[in-house]
């Protein structure tokens, strides 16, 4: 791992009452690389992500951003650093069009009124930068889009915000084969733009297709963080189910 991480977690911990969900996690994400966070239900993936998003701050541990320690106490802190989360349930308004959704909450104004021209231009540019070509018009209502197209809009929204770290929560969970391929291609292009992409997935096939690093979680421990080429499908399944430990790391509880 010769890359310099944009974000680095050191020994972060989080517990809910007596249940300690994160038991000292060290985790890194690199600009221009896709890091897959995998693990079974209850392994702590969501808690780890919510901490990064500032939604649910960690109890202890250090977060380094560009090598500097930072506080992630609220979603605003995360947004200020350029950390964007694309949630599984997408958070788009069906009744608004693509441009309106992409700019929701930070509309461009000109003399106090919405500047639709500028917003339309920037939204088109963001979609174009991701080589999106599956939509007919940026003024289409989101209600008329397919699942993959919606995912695309949500990701393009993060691009529009000039995000440096984009966290994708199960981006392909509800998609068919063709749309999954589309979204994975989008993830790769996002990384090519220099964005650090963290992708949470249950689908190891997707992970092996798109990720540069894989980080399996098991019961609140990060088992390993390895380049995808240095591991195998079976090994990762082993890490996730706890039947295997990473050579060189300490045995997990």
């Amino acid at each position: 791992m010769t890359d310099v991480p944009i974000i680095e977690l050191q020994d972060v911990r989080k517990s809910f009452g007596p249940v300690s969900v994160l038991q000292g996690i060290d985790f890194r994400a690199y600009p221009g690389k896709v890091t897959a966070l995998v693990g079974d239900n209850g392994a702590g993936k969501s808690t780890l992500i919510k901490g990064l998003a500032g939604v649910q701050p960690y109890d202890s541990g250090t977060v380094l951003f560009d090598g500097e320690p930072v506080e992630l106490q609220s979603p605003r802190d995360a947004a200020a650093l350029g950390i964007e989360v694309v949630y599984q349930d997408l958070a788009l308004c069906d009744n608004l069009d693509i441009v309106q959704n992409m700019f929701l909450g930070r509309e461009e104004l000109s003399r106090g009124t919405l500047d639709e021209g500028v917003m339309e231009r920037d939204a088109s540019d963001a979609l174009r930068s991701l080589s999106v070509r599956t939509m007919t018009s940026v003024r289409q209502k989101v209600a008329s889009l397919s699942g993959g197209q919606r995912q695309t809009v949500a990701i393009a929204r993060a691009v529009l915000k000039k995000a440096r770290v984009v966290i994708l929560d199960e981006p392909t969970a509800a998609l068919g084969v063709a749309q999954t391929a589309q979204v994975l291609a989008l993830v790769e292009r996002l990384a090519h733009q220099g964005v650090a992409v963290i992708i949470i997935s249950h689908n190891l096939q997707d992970v092996f297709e798109v990720a540069d690093y894989v980080a399996p979680l098991y019961l609140g421990h990060l088992v390993a963080e390895v380049p995808i080429g240095a591991t195998t499908y079976d090994d990762v399944v082993g890490y996730i189910t706890g039947s295997k430990t990473f050579p060189g790391s300490e045995t997990v509880a």
């Binding site: 929701l104 909450g105 104004l109 639709e116 088109s124 940026v138 397919s146």
Partner: protein
């Protein structure tokens, strides 16, 4: 058009359109595609107006007279206003069952303050608007802050305000409105020349906003709709507006002794509020947030929008505009009793839904509510001319409401069917 944007050519250039490219034919086709996709807007209600007008013109020789036309507009004004007020909460996916009694109660306050306590009418009016605003504040508190469904909160207020109006006015009481300025709203007319000036102002506003929009889009480098459509739009305003003002400029007096002509004062007031409200909803962040909260409140929250504040403001706007509806009503009736506004609220909701405002939030415009209210007003007016029993009016209005909701549901299910096929 020459102002299409210049983009770096390459495999990725201009693959996603703005939806405004092409000539008139492309735009008409795109519009028709949207209509078939379930975005019908005010189309069914506008068609309803045409059908009902033709129908009643055949059935009653009085329907198409100048006098009845002016009368119809003043009859409709209260319902149009109330439907527009309700649209602000309907867009949020909420409802205000108390809008009617709010207009009744605030008008009771207004008239009693003026008649009984001798308060100058502008002050009494200010008190009425203050009461309306406070009503919205209270509803907003219980809905947005405490988290009670708006149906329950406003149902409670619906009952409570009837009691309050009864307390203000007294059992079986009735007060006559004695403010000529307020009576003038529904009973006076603009001078004939002022009606034509009004039409010119409308044309100027429509052209100015369109030109400014086009300039902004050109500056941003995104394509504009073909200019022909703007000319067509102005043409429609000239023809329809010209016809309306023209008819209202005719002498419609029943006796040859005096002359009665001109656009009723209430018309420019309604049009101004319609324009301001539409501006707020279409062109400001607030309006965008209203639609987003109505479409997906969770998405709005995650986008950093203060959902609670938006809901709260919606109820305040609705209650305040309901006061205006009340003013139109007492100006038309000339008096106020304790039951004022009790029945009209459901007609207001029906009018908005007939016009294409969704009860589930996020869909519809003020113009839709106004057109829907006109449909219901035409039914009431036309059936009244036919001397049919009052029961028929309710039955017909009810059927039209269900018909409008059916058209909406069918078009939407067909729209989602189109998505599934893709």
């Amino acid at each position: 058009m020459t102002d299409t944007r210049t983009t770096p050519s390459g495999p990725d250039a201009v693959l996603i359109s703005s939806g405004v490219e092409g000539g008139v034919r492309d735009q008409v086709r795109a519009w028709w595609h949207r209509v078939r996709g379930g975005e019908m807007g005010a189309l069914p209600a506008s068609a309803g107006i045409v059908v009902l007008t033709v129908l009643f013109a055949f059935l009653s020789p009085f329907f198409l007279t100048e006098r009845n036309f002016a009368n119809l507009l003043t009859q409709a004004a209260t319902l149009v206003m109330l439907a527009m007020a309700l649209t602000f909460v309907l867009l949020l996916g909420e409802i205000d069952l108390s809008a009617g009694v709010t207009s009744g109660m605030t008008m009771a306050l207004f008239v009693v303050l003026n008649n009984v306590f001798g308060v100058a009418w502008p002050l009494a009016l200010l008190a009425a608007f203050g009461a309306g605003l406070a009503t919205g504040l209270v509803i907003g508190f219980f809905v947005a802050k405490v988290g009670i469904p708006s149906f329950v909160v406003t149902l409670g207020l619906f009952l409570g305000y009837q009691g309050l109006a009864l307390t203000i006015i007294g059992d079986g009481g009735l007060y006559r409105l004695q403010v000529p300025e307020i009576l003038a709203i529904q009973n006076a007319n603009l001078p004939v020349w002022a009606g034509w000036v009004m039409l010119l102002v409308i044309l100027a506003v429509v052209s100015a906003t369109s030109v400014l929009d086009r300039r902004r889009r050109t500056r941003a480098g995104v394509p504009n709709r073909t200019i022909t459509l703007l000319w067509a739009k102005l043409g429609v305003v000239v023809v329809v507006g010209g016809a309306v003002v023209g008819v209202l400029s005719q002498n419609r007096s029943a006796s040859p002794a005096n002359e009665l002509a001109g656009v009723p004062v209430v018309v420019p007031i309604v049009l101004t509020i319609l324009w301001l409200g539409t501006f707020l909803l279409d062109r400001t962040r607030f309006g965008r947030y209203v639609y987003s909260v109505g479409g997906n409140a969770e998405a709005a929250r995650r986008a950093g929008i203060n959902v609670r504040l938006i809901r709260w403001s919606g109820f305040m706007l609705c209650s305040t505009l309901a006061v205006v509806a009340g003013l139109f009503s007492i100006s038309k009736v000339g008096s106020i009793d304790a039951a004022a506004g009790r029945e009209i609220v459901l007609s207001g909701v029906a009018a908005a839904v007939v016009g294409g405002v969704s009860l589930f939030g996020g869909r519809g415009r003020l113009l839709n509510a106004a057109v829907g209210a006109l449909v219901i007003a035409i039914i009431t007016n036309g059936l009244g001319l036919l001397n049919l029993p009052a029961g028929v009016n309710f039955m017909v209005t009810g059927s039209v409401l269900v018909l409008a909701a059916t058209v909406d549901a069918v078009s939407r299910s067909r729209a989602s069917g189109m998505v599934r096929r893709n």
